[in-house]
């Protein structure tokens, strides 16, 4: 539908009138191919948000194909995507059956699912490692599927994904705990919500939800605040370490033939008719049978390259805080405040206290709409909000906070997932707008993405299963968790396993060195930390950083001054001479 | 014109007040407060809790000196460094030059605390000595 049609004109008029009634001027709207495009400039972020959300309502009401919000705030839009500094021809002229754009949990899980097939697969990731954006900046909760609004893709993928996590953790060798979560009632009248909660469970397909009394809760969680009045238990809620899961999927994908390309950003595409023929990157131009867009906060930019804009992302920032491990015995369940409203503009999604799989306690998250898509700065006000979560557990003190971090959710204006083949481009598949419950949904989304992609590839020829596909990944052992006998055997093989480098997390030299080898090796200090937890403990690398860097220097033959902490430009040390020449 | 300084002879860090004297030195003056002065007409130093403070203050106003500590590179392939110090205090104004010499120095033989790394450092009556141990590997 176009603006020029009578119906189109009416829709735009309704929309602009609505904005007018909210006092918003400066927005222009048009319709193209069934997509509502919003342009113009407004004075506040709040106005831009209203324009977008009202546009989503219009889209739903009039069954449009999508809504794209390009409205700027005082001439500002997001800071453009930063590009890797490298420019070469590594990928020039290469062709893969499937190219996945984005190495987060979705792209990596999809790669692993696709690797069941006898096809060539490449994952293009603009950072130096997998899962560095939203995928590692979340609380690792495998939601039960209660919070998502019934009928949404979030709800269906969440519940399906939650179930699939059991098998995924067994096959891929990552830790999955299912402590269940409890939505706390802070007022006795909240028990009247029970039928509402139960109905929500029924509608979404969440099993096992039930009421727990105040007394039972006090018995289960003696350290919980006095103010609790019982709650609603969701036993299928689980916890994983998101970094571990991304790497587990990635390592299994790599062992099944998937090629990973880091520091690789997509900067454009070429089409012929409705088919993407070439993908332009800073490392050369390649081609693909099918392209999977799992590009997180930049998924709409990738859609633009394909000439297929029908959604846009508005980033919503969240901050989590981690509390010292020694408080780990304080909680048995995930605990939070109930919210039936999904995430729609709620200032705190619910959030609460989550027991991390490593044993630390996580507070959060907050929720704040922002303009910049990769703004990971934290501020005093974020902690102020999180400290309220601390009130849930008597024993928590502000001084127990080890660290805090921020992430951004890729939210569409419809606030739901987009998981589908493109309606307009024949060889493009989308996994966009994957905000919470993205982690919980990942295994299910990955299955569907693979199915969509294979179906597209089958149009050009038969696709058979990979003969040597191995779904199993043997995780690297955590020596500190082994029995002494097992540990002795490792040390006998190599004494480096008996030399403890990170003493807060008890990680040996051998374990650190092993992360620098293998299918998806660590190439930075933070990469080592993600794979072994060396440097992630209470002293935050205070003692072990020099030792980790020395091991890396020895293993790679690099100079100590060339070992980076993380991405491009994150140098750690300089030699004295270089203060003259500059770094 | 009085000068205030903090004595660094020991961790107590007594606050000293130094009133520079005239050139003439007259003997026999008695201290007015704990610690004391030298001779009438000479500099008057107060605030020290022990005699070291007097020596320190006089030194600071005539010829301030410091012990310099640093590290030197060695020929160790592992990049081991040898901590060093000047065996006695050197003039404060020579510290920059001293560091330049230290930066150019590479130790090639093993050593233990007390071994001389550079004899007659900066042409002064001081050596640069090792303060740590290195086995030469």
């Amino acid at each position: 539908m176009e603006s020029r049609s009578a119906r189109g004109e009416k829709i735009l008029a309704v929309y602009l009138k609505k904005l007018g009634s909210r006092g918003i001027t400066g927005v222009e709207a048009s319709l193209e191919d069934g997509v509502l495009f919003l342009t113009g400039d407004v004075p506040t972020l709040e106005d831009r948000l209203t324009a977008g959300f009202e546009g989503a309502k219009i889209k739903k009401k009039y069954r449009l194909r999508g809504v794209v919000n390009d409205v700027t705030v005082n001439q500002r839009s997001s800071v453009p995507m930063s590009l890797p500094s490298i420019n070469d021809t590594l990928l020039e002229g290469r062709r893969f059956d499937a190219v996945i754009i984005g190495g987060g949990i979705i792209g990596t899980a999809a790669a692993r699912e696709l690797s069941r097939w006898n096809i060539s697969i490449a994952v293009l990731e603009k950072e130096e490692d997998l899962g560095l954006h939203a995928s590692s900046r979340n609380d690792g909760m495998v939601h039960p599927g209660f919070a998502a609004s019934p009928g949404t893709l979030k709800a269906s993928y969440n519940v399906r994904g939650n179930r699939l996590y059991t098998r995924a953790s067994e096959e891929l060798g990552f830790t999955l705990r299912r402590p269940g979560s409890i939505l706390l009632f802070s007022h006795p009248a909240m028990i009247l919500l029970l039928p509402v909660f139960k109905r929500r469970c029924r509608k979404n397909g969440v099993s096992g939800g039930r009421w727990v009394s105040r007394r039972t809760l006090a018995r289960w969680e003696p350290e919980l605040t006095d103010k609790q009045r019982g709650g609603f238990l969701l036993p299928t809620a689980g916890i994983i370490s998101p970094q571990e899961v991304v790497l587990a999927y990635g390592e299994n994908a790599a062992s099944n033939g998937v090629e990973f390309f880091f520091h690789t950003a997509v900067t454009g595409m070429e089409k012929q008719g409705d088919i993407i023929t070439r993908i332009v990157t800073n490392r050369g131009t390649l081609s693909a049978g099918v392209v999977l867009n799992a590009a997180g906060v930049w998924a709409d930019q990738v859609a633009d390259y394909a000439g297929d804009r029908f959604f846009s992302i508005h980033p919503r920032k969240g901050v989590d805080a981690i509390v010292d491990k020694k408080q780990k015995d304080s909680l048995n369940h995930i605990v939070g405040m109930p919210s039936l409203r999904g995430n729609r503009r709620s200032h705190s999604k619910g959030g609460g206290l989550v027991l991390c799989v490593e044993g630390n306690l996580l507070l959060g998250p907050t929720a704040e709409e922002v303009l910049d898509r990769e703004d990971y700065t934290t501020h005093q006000k974020d902690l102020a909000i999180l400290k309220k979560h601390m009130e849930l557990d008597r024993r928590l003190r502000e001084s127990d906070i080890i660290t805090y971090y921020a992430g951004t959710r890729s939210a569409t204006w419809e606030e739901d997932f987009i998981v589908q083949p493109s309606d307009r481009v024949a060889n493009l598949v989308y996994a966009a707008g994957i905000q919470s419950p993205g982690v919980a949904s990942a295994p299910a989304i990955a299955e569907d993405l693979a199915a969509f992609a294979v179906k597209i590839l089958e149009k050009s020829g038969a696709v058979g299963p990979r003969p040597d596909f191995n779904p199993h990944r043997t995780p690297r052992p955590v020596l500190a968790e082994l029995s002494e006998e097992e540990r002795r055997r490792w040390i006998e093989k190599d004494p480096a396993y008996g030399r403890i480098v990170c003493r807060c997390e008890e990680v040996s030299e051998g374990e650190i060195r092993d992360t620098l080898r293998g299918g998806l090796p660590a190439t930075t200090v933070d990469g080592v930390k993600r794979r072994t937890r060396a440097g992630a403990g209470r002293c935050h690398g205070g003692f072990c950083l020099p030792r980790v860097m020395e091991i890396m220097a020895r293993e790679t033959g690099k100079d100590l001054g060339d070992i980076p902490r993380g991405g491009d430009g994150s140098w750690i040390l300089m030699k004295r001479k270089e203060t003259v020449n500059g770094k | 014109m009085e000068k205030q300084m903090t004595c660094i002879a020991c961790p107590r860090g007594c606050r000293l007040v130094v009133i520079p004297g005239t050139e003439e030195a007259v003997s026999g003056a008695r201290p007015e407060s704990d610690g004391g002065s030298i001779n009438r007409g000479g500099p008057v130093i107060t605030g020290n809790r022990c005699p070291k403070g007097i020596d320190y203050a006089l030194q600071e106003i005539t010829n301030p000196v410091r012990i310099l500590t640093s590290t030197v590179a060695t020929t160790s392939p592992g990049g081991i460094r040898m901590p060093v110090k000047t065996s006695v205090e050197i003039p404060k104004e020579l510290m920059k030059e001293a560091m330049a010499v230290i930066h150019r120095t590479v130790l090639s033989r093993p050593g233990i605390p007390g071994d001389v790394v550079i004899e007659g450092f900066l042409g002064l009556k001081t050596d640069l000595v090792a303060t740590g141990e290195w086995d030469g590997q």
Partner: protein, 424 residues
């Protein structure tokens, strides 16, 4: 390899080595366990001087001080285990403490009736002082930066801002300047500097490095690497004063914001820590409330001088040897009359936390809670009798005071000892 030693010392720095020497001199068979490859603890990287003025009556550098103690270990009944890491400690029944270790030679265990923890401390991190903004590379704690400069020979940056006027920060201000980096300034959130006066002079004044009090770093800028920090002034309560933000371009931020005693291994033994010292309370023999468990050095409380660290280590060694060799009779263990020492007035904290009748005369250490011009310290019985008195002309919290007290001064029925400091 299961082995029994009379005394096992965990930690081979200045506290642990002193403890091992004293325990061996007390007749005990000693195991000294160190997780690094070399002994000396943090002294290996403290290449500056000022160590040992009281202990050896000389002005030594850290490595020299460590060397002296390493020499003392030889020729004594002390077995040294380096690259050895304590993984578990449990209170056994008769034999005492059962410990498990990991080392390049494999896991093994030791059992000892007496154990001394000399595990030192770690540095507070930026997150723990609620540093906000980006999280780039280029933020170091002062000790971490010191290790890079002195052990590896690398600089943390070209233009540094130092947050915290504690000794380590001051030492690093000088060290970085000598090595050719530029230190833009030292920023201190409190109204008074935290380090020893001597270091304020020798590290800042000597190099014209400005010290800004009542100012803190509130934000770090730079996505991959530090590009700038924003400082602001704070009021007496530490709250930011609006309108005082100042952005300072730099490429590294060095944090000297406090030390935290490393006592995590005590958790498994159920030993609680004093909130103010962050170490376990001990008596004058350095024994905790758990019979046979001793502590010393920076694990007990954060010291200013290594000489005092070694002194507490020696007391722990003597106490542990006496305990292990049964010189403290079984009837004394557990039924020992403990006299708590209660801080009063302007005392931030004092150690020891309690006295026992049998054992050495205590050496008290304390910190005033604020700077005092003229002060009087009194030890009193509950009845108000003044058992000891000392006057001070000048006290600062960063400079810990020491004095010796004779147990003979303690009356027969003394329920507690009041440790009182007031301005006069």
């Amino acid at each position: 390899m299961e082995s029994n030693y009379d005394v096992t010392v965990i930690g081979g720095g200045p506290a642990g080595m002193a403890a091992a020497v004293a325990a061996a001199d007390g007749g005990a068979r000693v195991a000294l366990v160190e997780r690094e490859e070399k002994l000396g603890g943090i002294l290996k990287q403290c290449i500056h001087d000022g160590f040992g003025l009281f202990r050896f009556n000389e002005r030594l550098t850290g490595p020299e001080y460590a060397w002296r103690y390493q020499q003392m270990l030889m020729g004594r009944r002390i077995d040294v285990f380096t690259s050895t890491f304590l993984t578990k400690i449990q209170r056994g029944t008769e034999e005492g403490f059962q410990m498990r270790f990991v080392a390049p030679g494999g896991p093994f265990g030791l059992t000892s009736p007496a154990v001394i923890t000399a595990t030192g401390c770690r540095e507070r991190t930026g997150r723990q002082v609620f540093l906000h903004g980006d999280r780039p590379a280029g933020i170091f704690t002062a000790g971490q930066a010191q290790g890079f400069v002195n052990l590896q020979g690398y600089l943390p940056g070209r233009r540094c801002v130092i947050l915290g006027s504690g000794d380590i920060g001051l030492i690093m201000a000088r060290r970085l300047t000598l090595e050719g980096a530029e230190v833009e300034g030292v920023y201190e959130v409190k109204q008074e500097p935290s380090g020893l006066t001597r270091n304020l002079v020798q590290c800042l004044e000597d190099f014209d490095i400005p010290l800004h009090l009542s100012t803190t770093v509130k934000e770090v800028h730079g996505r991959r690497r530090v590009e700038a920090v924003t400082v602001c002034q704070v009021d007496e309560a530490g709250r930011p004063v609006t309108g005082t933000d100042r952005r300072i371009p730099c490429d590294s931020l060095i944090l000297s914001v406090g030390l935290i005693p490393e006592n995590e291994i005590l958790d498994s033994l159920g030993i609680s820590l004093d909130e103010r010292t962050r170490g376990p309370g001990v008596d004058q023999n350095q024994m905790t409330r758990l019979p046979g468990l001793f502590t010393c050095g920076n694990a007990q409380h954060v010291n200013d001088l290594v000489d005092y660290v070694s002194e507490s280590g020696a007391a722990a060694g003597r106490g542990a040897a006496r305990f292990a060799l049964g010189k403290r009779g079984a009837e004394e263990r557990g039924t020992e009359e403990t006299i708590p020492v209660r801080p009063s007035g302007e005392i931030l904290y004092q150690v020891p936390a309690a006295l026992v009748r049998h054992g050495e005369d205590p050496v008290f250490f304390f910190r005033a809670s604020r700077s005092l011009e003229k002060a009087r310290l009194e030890l009193r019985s509950p009845g108000g009798e003044v058992l000891y008195q000392k006057r001070y002309t000048f006290l600062r919290p960063p400079e810990m005071e020491r004095f010796e007290f004779s147990m003979t001064k303690l009356p027969e029925n003394c329920g507690e000892l009041i440790f009182h400091l007031e301005e006069v």
